[in-house]
Symmetry: C2
Subunit: 419 residues, 2 copies
């Protein structure tokens, strides 16, 4: 079963927004055994939408559209779909009532164009949007399915999870798709490839390998598709087992697509630990990553973002002498930051970062991109120096993920409860 995703909106094509909807939909479809053949982003233009629909109908069995369902003139998806299916719009009283309720709750006056949102194609199955006024639509045509969803991410997500995925699972006999990702750290793509060359050659045909380099690490993704989920999982696990023998020294994680902040959340909670951060060059990004995951308040106590030497002195108690002697970007300063942070927040672990994210060197004597990271553990402190180069964005991202990877290693070392 192949799907195509069509995202509609000029704002995507001028780069005003990043299309995050496609990744979410792709992930949801993969979970229920549907592969995505192509993602196509197009303009709010009737001819272009019709062309994309026709092409997608050639290539895919399931076509999911997002965007263009709002109440204003530039929202033309609904009319274009009615046109494509030789359909007409009719009033849907249930949806009208739902829209009126939303307006009453928000205390917004109800306009004519809001009534238009309840006019929906006669041939479609309407998918009620719990949190917004733009309903989803489901069309069947010659064994193929077309689904139109709003472009606002929260509304699209709700409809995908509550309505679209279950209805697709009921409509088809779907295979399983299993992906597992091995995260490696500290070695580049070509060298990892060379080390696992023989293993790769002997992979069974139904298991596909992909190399995913990114700022902070190289991930190896193994994918398999078939009817027997257990068999697929076991087969992949056997291959990962073999990988462990070959490159166990650089493997840092095995979780399937799980981001490091989720892993930290689970490990901290499981072992009943607490955490705080003292951030300079990461500017609060580590705290932000940790608190983006529900349940963070169970173990995360807080952070001090110390963006000047004076604040490092006043709030983190770093002695001005240490800063003057060793520079604000130094092993000595990051060590004191971590230890004092742990003490201030009364936590089991503390992360500290100091460095120069650039693009200018500010008032430090250190090269742009140089970062010191410290992890204070219940009875030790581990310090590492990095050079992440440029640009600024990369320095912040790599510092944050390196810090979380270092923390993970320390937790694993000190605690028996593992995932």
């Amino acid at each position: 079963m192949q799907a195509e995703i069509i995202t509609i909106g000029d704002e995507i094509l001028i780069g005003q927004i990043i299309d995050t909807n496609s990744a979410f939909i792709s992930k949801e479809l993969n979970k229920i055994g549907i592969s995505v053949y192509q993602i196509t982003s197009i303009q709010d233009d009737k001819k272009h939408i019709l062309k994309a629909l026709a092409e997608a109908e050639e290539n895919a069995d399931i076509i999911i559209l997002t965007g263009g369902l709002g109440p204003t003139k530039d929202d033309i998806t609904k009319h274009t779909l009615a046109n494509y299916f030789n359909d007409e719009l009719v009033m849907n009283e249930n949806i009208l009532k739902h829209i009126k309720n939303i307006f009453a709750r928000m205390n917004f006056p109800f306009t004519d164009s809001d009534v238009q949102q309840a006019m929906l194609p006669k041939k479609s199955t309407v998918l009620e949007n719990k949190i917004g006024t733009a309903a989803g639509m489901w069309f069947d045509k010659n064994g193929k399915v077309f689904i139109s969803l709003p472009g606002v991410p929260a509304e699209m997500k709700g409809l995908m999870q509550d309505k679209v995925s279950p209805k697709l699972q009921n409509s088809y006999h779907l295979p399983y798709i299993v992906h597992k990702t091995v995260q490696t750290y500290g070695m580049n793509e070509s060298n990892v490839a060379k080390r696992i060359e023989n293993w790769e050659k002997e992979l069974p045909d139904f298991i596909k390998l992909a190399f995913l380099p990114s700022y902070a690490k190289l991930r190896l993704r193994l994918s398999a598709k078939g009817d027997n989920k257990e068999f697929l999982e076991q087969s992949i696990d056997i291959e990962i087992e073999k990988l462990q023998q070959i490159i166990g020294d650089i493997i840092v994680g095995l979780q399937e697509n799980e981001v490091i902040e989720v892993i930290i959340n689970k490990k901290m909670t499981l072992n009943n630990l607490t955490l705080s951060t003292a951030e300079s060059c990461t500017g609060g990004n580590i705290a932000k990553l940790i608190t983006s995951i529900p349940g963070a308040s169970n173990f995360f106590k807080g952070s001090i973002v110390a963006y000047s030497a004076k604040i490092k002195e006043d709030l983190l108690g770093i002695s001005i002498k240490t800063i003057q002697k060793y520079s604000v970007v130094s092993e000595q300063v990051v060590k004191e930051m971590a230890l004092n942070c742990k003490k201030l927040f009364k936590t089991d672990y503390a992360i500290a970062t100091t460095g120069n994210a650039g693009p200018t060197t500010d008032k430090t004597d250190k090269t742009v991109g140089v970062v010191f990271i410290a992890i204070a553990t219940p009875d030790d402190v581990i310090i590492k120096e990095f050079n992440f180069g440029q640009p600024r964005e990369k320095v912040i991202l790599r510092s944050s993920s390196s810090a979380l990877e270092m923390l993970k290693k320390e937790i694993d070392k000190n605690n028996k409860n593992s995932l």
Copy 2:
């Protein structure tokens, strides 16, 4: 001049990564007068890449590809391009030297597959990638241009800005594309549309209007394309002037695509002001947004992320009585947080947030989604209560942008130097 962007990589189609490259390339192309007709994301599959190339050649004048240029087996873009252009790969000595240098600097052993990265299509103009080993390639074919770039964002960005954009500007006589965006706040799409209905009807044909609703606000984007940049800008400015008369009460910003953290950065620096934050429900996200912009250290002193009541008491000096009497999510607590934060960091302004991001209510008595935000100014403190509903991600994003919008209003009120 129309462009199509083709991003290659299974990781996009299974939703493992979000494609941010397309938005960056689209924005760069728009700046130099090139419209993007379509963005197509496809699998690492030879047949699929060839099909996408042929289709793009039909629709567009400039085709930009990203991804699949690495040293491993799943990287097939280069070979597929050579195939498409009936070309062969030849060793490029300059690139080989460049790759060897990178490996020497990183202290990585040099493998056979790394040598392969210097084998490039004979007919292509090679674009040297300063920070990586995968070179870009530029092909000319019957007046159309095909450009292949690496998928790693920092490498793609460097090549786009240093090589591709200048070379495109030299190759074509390009028109100007002007976009300006008006940000509104506090009124929904259909009601804004109704208020500006007559204005919209009378817009000149060459100006296009788009409504862009998002979590935190509704943006109105005006776009125009033509040979006379000044005329386009003036025409749009005249229309924005008229808009000011009609909906001035809900307009919060006029900057062209400029994000609020950049605006804050400029206003703070221009007026020689300082800032700190005390964050509870935003978990460091406001500090992270502020410090993502270069030059933040000129005005931003730091943040205290206080993720428990105890830390609010210990580090921010909020009296436990206030917390017990009014709850940790209250006007009284957020007010003290802002005032004490300003004092601790000795700044002119301070932002404070407290609320419940969900999904569970934790230990507070407040509904999930309720957030209090305070802005301490040199001689006042402004407090607002919000209900951002769910999900968690939305609460954090809307709280952060609302806080920065509130801050911006206060700076504008108190300072003469405006942008």
